[in-house]
């Protein structure tokens, strides 16, 4: 972890850290990285299946069937502004 990476993380997570907090975070990440180096050194995880979830659970799936449950007017009741069936937002153009 370095200052540049931390700066990017701050931006992505919309955080603003003090210098002292930054030092703490860097120390924390460096320590965790060292932990992983230890794990890498003593355990061969090449054949260990990746854990995708902490619980042995799986999703339910549904049939591919169209069900119309909602009318547009009901969904747009809380909209600040609508026009001809559209939601309206402040103009955006790239």
């Amino acid at each position: 972890m370095n200052r540049e990476t931390l700066r990017r993380l701050e931006m992505l997570n919309q955080l603003s850290l003090t210098e002292e907090q930054k030092d703490d975070v860097i120390r924390f990440f460096d320590a965790r990285e060292a932990d992983f180096e230890v794990i890498d050194k003593f355990f061969d995880t090449a054949d260990v299946e990746r854990m995708v979830h902490v619980m042995p659970v799986m999703t339910v799936v549904r049939e591919d069937k169209v069900i119309k449950k909602f009318e547009r007017e009901a969904l747009q009741q809380n909209a600040p502004e609508t026009d001809e069936g559209y939601w309206c937002v402040p103009r955006v153009l790239e």
Partner: protein, 480 residues
């Protein structure tokens, strides 16, 4: 110095499901009013939970198998964060850590022979909504009908090296996915979209150059033009220092024939991918996996071989039929009923494909049932319905797939008459009314016979065995 172009593609394909990926709204909004196919889930209302559409996973697996991929038997969904009004939840549910299919290959034909293009991964995800910018000056209008429509994204390795190879690759993808019936893959309809990642390097080098990405191109011709332009721009920058290449996303303007910088290319970190806590892992057990593996279609080249070597068709006919799985299925069912591959191929190629072209329909939109076509072919072969009337029945079968050819021919008065008395009386009247043609035929003009034959057939509304008519007509001319 000679350079080679290095191209990798990200191809988005809209899956042919009825409903959306995480809710039961219709996935087909063509012609619909804005926001008519929406619910709290696909509008991104707080607290709404997604429920996975099983057929999306079926199609993701099927696409993976068609592209020779390894299927991840435990596949997971992740959140990709970006903030824009076409994405109401401010994240896209996609697959990052364990996509449904990985490590495949697609083989394409090149002038130098077969070439294998490696597939990095295929992941399932939801589409974004549509923004309309031109209804009012101060406002962007948002339509969520397309939000959560299921997509797969097919990510290739950078193994392509020319516009021609890209075209061959995209055509091959289309064929394979259409054969598997997982997608329409029509770029003009937006059901197949393509991002092109491109760089150049000196020939023989193994290092990659600076990569640019061109997004959302919607025709193969535009993609080819964009690749040629972008390759030339990169070479010019490297050779002549005309500009400094940077990793960025660019927009292709097909009218002006130029690409423009849109934004600096994001990296994966910018999207803050993280496992979606609202969708548990999808676990594909053996039964599910096998049911998909068993449903894979015969590949077009295998069908071609079978049609030519086992069924005796010519290469042209086999090539025409294998252009679409729908044509193949219609042909094969017709052969089962009529017993003649040659007859069935003739009807599919000369009649059905021509009607589809006239109607502006793609071959995959064919609704005519092959078994019904087979019965129609038998009626013609047995002399019960004339070919011209059979064509009319076939044309009507496009509008009404439930038509029974025998009953319909009866109803329309198309059954060939064996009433020789009627044939003779019609022939007599036609011959008597056209002595000039009779004289011309007797004088050696063969075409005059065809004119008389045509008049008789018209009077009989086509319901006559041509052989019988010819015999009766020649006898009557002899007497005249």
């Amino acid at each position: 110095m000679r350079y080679e172009t290095v191209i990798g593609l990200e191809v988005h394909v809209e899956l042919a499901t009825d409903s959306k990926i995480f809710c039961s709204c219709s996935a087909h909004s063509y012609g619909a009013e804005p926001n008519d196919h929406v619910c709290p889930a696909c509008c991104g209302m707080p607290g709404m939970l997604p429920v996975v559409n099983r057929r999306v996973v079926d199609f993701g697996m099927k696409a993976g198998m068609m592209l020779n991929c390894h299927i991840n038997r435990v596949t997971t969904f992740d959140k990709k964060s970006y903030y824009y009004p076409d994405l109401p939840a401010a994240y896209q549910t996609t697959q990052w850590f364990a996509p449904v299919a990985v490590n495949g290959t697609v083989e394409i034909d090149t002038p130098a022979g077969k070439k294998a293009i490696r597939i990095k991964q295929i992941h399932m995800e939801e589409d974004a909504g549509k923004l309309v910018h031109d209804l009012r000056e101060d406002t962007t209008h948002v339509d969520f009908n397309r939000t959560s429509v299921p997509l797969i994204e097919i990510v290739s390795q950078p193994d392509l090296s020319s516009a021609a190879e890209v075209e061959a690759y995209l055509e091959r993808l289309k064929t394979l996915l259409r054969y598997a019936r997982v997608a329409e893959c029509e770029m003009a309809h937006g059901t197949m979209r393509c991002d092109v990642n491109l760089s150049i390097r000196p020939e023989g080098s193994t290092e990659y150059g600076v990569r640019t990405e061109m997004k959302n191109m919607n025709s193969i011709e535009a993609i080819k033009r964009a690749i040629e332009y972008e390759t030339a721009r990169h070479i010019d920058a490297v050779e002549n220092g005309t500009e400094v290449l940077v990793q960025e996303t660019r927009r292709w303007d097909d009218v002006k024939g130029k690409s423009y910088a849109m934004r600096t290319k994001e990296t994966a970190g910018d999207y803050r991918y993280f496992p979606d806590p609202n969708v548990m892992p999808v676990v594909i057990d053996d039964e599910w996996y096998d049911s998909i593996a068993d449903s894979l279609p015969e590949l077009p080249e295998v069908k071609f071989e079978r049609y030519t070597s086992e069924m005796g068709l010519g290469e042209y006919d086999a090539e025409q039929l294998t252009r679409s799985i729908a044509l193949c299925e219609c042909f094969e069912s017709a052969v089962e009923v009529c017993g003649s591959a040659k007859d069935a191929a003739n009807w599919v190629i000369s009649e059905i494909m021509s009607i589809l072209n006239t109607k502006g329909m793609t071959y995959d939109m064919l609704t005519v049932n092959g078994e019904t076509l087979g019965r129609l072919i038998v009626l013609v072969r047995d002399g019960k319905v004339g070919r011209a009337n059979a064509r009319r029945i076939l044309a009507d079968m496009f509008d009404d797939a439930t038509i029974d050819p025998e009953a319909y021919a009866e109803k329309m008065g198309f059954i060939v008459s064996n009433d020789t008395g009627l044939i003779e009386s019609v022939v007599k009247a036609v011959v008597a009314a056209d002595p000039a043609s009779v004289a011309a035929y007797k004088g050696g003009r063969e075409k005059a016979l065809m004119a008389l034959f045509g008049k008789c057939m018209k009077e009989l509304r086509g319901n006559c065995d041509p052989q019988v008519l010819r015999v009766v007509l020649l006898a009557e001319i002899e007497k005249a």
